[in-house]
Symmetry: C2
Subunit: 317 residues, 2 copies
Amino acid sequence: MGADTSDRVAVLGAGAVGCYFGGMLARAGHKVTLIGRPVHVEAFRKSGLHFEGLKFDEQVPVEASTEASAVRGARLVLFCVKSTDTEQAAAQIAPHLAADAIVLNLQNGVDNTERIQAKVSQPVIPAVVYAATEMKGPGHLKHHGRGDLVIGSLNGNVSAEVLQNLKARFEKASIPVQVSDNVSSELWAKLVANCAYNALSAITQLPYGRMIDGIGVRDVMRDVVEEALAVAKASGVQMPPDVLARTYKIAQAMPTQHSSTAQDLARGKPSEIDHLNGYVVRRGEALGIATPANRALHALVKLLEAKLPRPPASRPS
Amino acid sequence: MGADTSDRVAVLGAGAVGCYFGGMLARAGHKVTLIGRPVHVEAFRKSGLHFEGLKFDEQVPVEASTEASAVRGARLVLFCVKSTDTEQAAAQIAPHLAADAIVLNLQNGVDNTERIQAKVSQPVIPAVVYAATEMKGPGHLKHHGRGDLVIGSLNGNVSAEVLQNLKARFEKASIPVQVSDNVSSELWAKLVANCAYNALSAITQLPYGRMIDGIGVRDVMRDVVEEALAVAKASGVQMPPDVLARTYKIAQAMPTQHSSTAQDLARGKPSEIDHLNGYVVRRGEALGIATPANRALHALVKLLEAKLPRPPASRPS
């Protein structure tokens, strides 16, 4: 893989994150195939990706498919399905991946890269995504802010050169990329922030600004963060000292944001909560670390999920 | 106070609990005045208390008033306002209480009796209420099950004779009463059960049966109970060993029940959560005991309360 911008890129899971990064690459001249649900794919085929950016509003021409086999021929695959669908989607693309393909995993959660890697032989690179994006309707992406990545090698499965090439390629498409020596720590930092915000916003259906000003909410967030940090530490992950302060600041930066989990619940869709607070609870149990605050939030989101009528399942979402 | 069933009884706070016990005493021949909100008082005056019991459905003649001063002349006052209104209601009745009146406190929470006693000089006796009751509409009480009390002296402020007389009087009105030597323990046992059920049911708007079967919910309830028991122990309260098992059984006994907190939230009314999980959190902070599960539940109910439009306040409710 070089700096050839005509390389084919496939995006598996054309939700808000996949459409943002796929759309930015397409705008920079890459041939991008968005793989997603029929409702979006029909819209993409009819009039491209409706990309409502901060400074532009365009129809971006893309290829589109509902089939995982459409990864065929892509040298870069952006893996953007929900954490609930990781194994299934990885198994679906495995027979179709080009021998020299690279899979860039843009999912939330800290163990998805290993879960994909267990199903595919091509290298899988974790990316920590910082982007506020939303699907406003069929084929319609709205960008609310940021749009940058932190990438790194997990267990040295790719060289520094590959990472630097990826970085260069994305930055030509106006996607800032930081290459990290300790990407596990970055993944955990994102997980911790997600644990602190996603469930609380989902259960109350409140945006971050109103949520964090609630009585006792900062204390709850501190409990959640401290439990998750204890689990990270016991998992051998070295975390920076200022995670809690950084976590609190997210609400200042994004006061009107509802979490992805809040959006899922509002739409009657299964959330990723088993891979956020639920992951901390499971790892905590395995490691003998108490996680009562994460457990309460996880159980509540599961109860609310179970209460919702579910739309018919479709893959990949 | 003897066994004279013609003694006047005033019920301060004609909600479901007040109407149940006031209604049972009225049916047994006591002169009962229900003090409550105008919507109920109008109905009581027009056609009595509509008492939909398990085995009868009657209009029970009662006196009714919206004024706290209507406690005047009553030798027994059932104190049934919300814990949020304790001080205000106690101060309102204080100048009107008969010198030989007894106040029986039927509120949830473990510190309401002391809070009333600080405002009135007549003896206040705590009662732990076990009753599933509901106001179905203006002046309309529905009884779903149980209806018994545990009473006892707090710091020896009433004699055993007074307690036995009260018991005899209530039992003549088909209200089972247990006199306890350790009423603090009984109050805490009820508090612990309320902490385990009320918030979870309120946040999810689910009945106990569906709620307790949720993923991880029993673990959350165990965390909540263990935190509350630690706070009780540090407060010098001797608790029985089987609180958790008894707590789990409540869902079997009342699978269709929604908590009072759930009913409050559904009706846009302020709940008693500050006196349930919120009390455990505050006492825990004062005693240096961590209460992360109770804190998460308390903060979530407060967020949901703050989100609701409030009806105009009225006292007593």
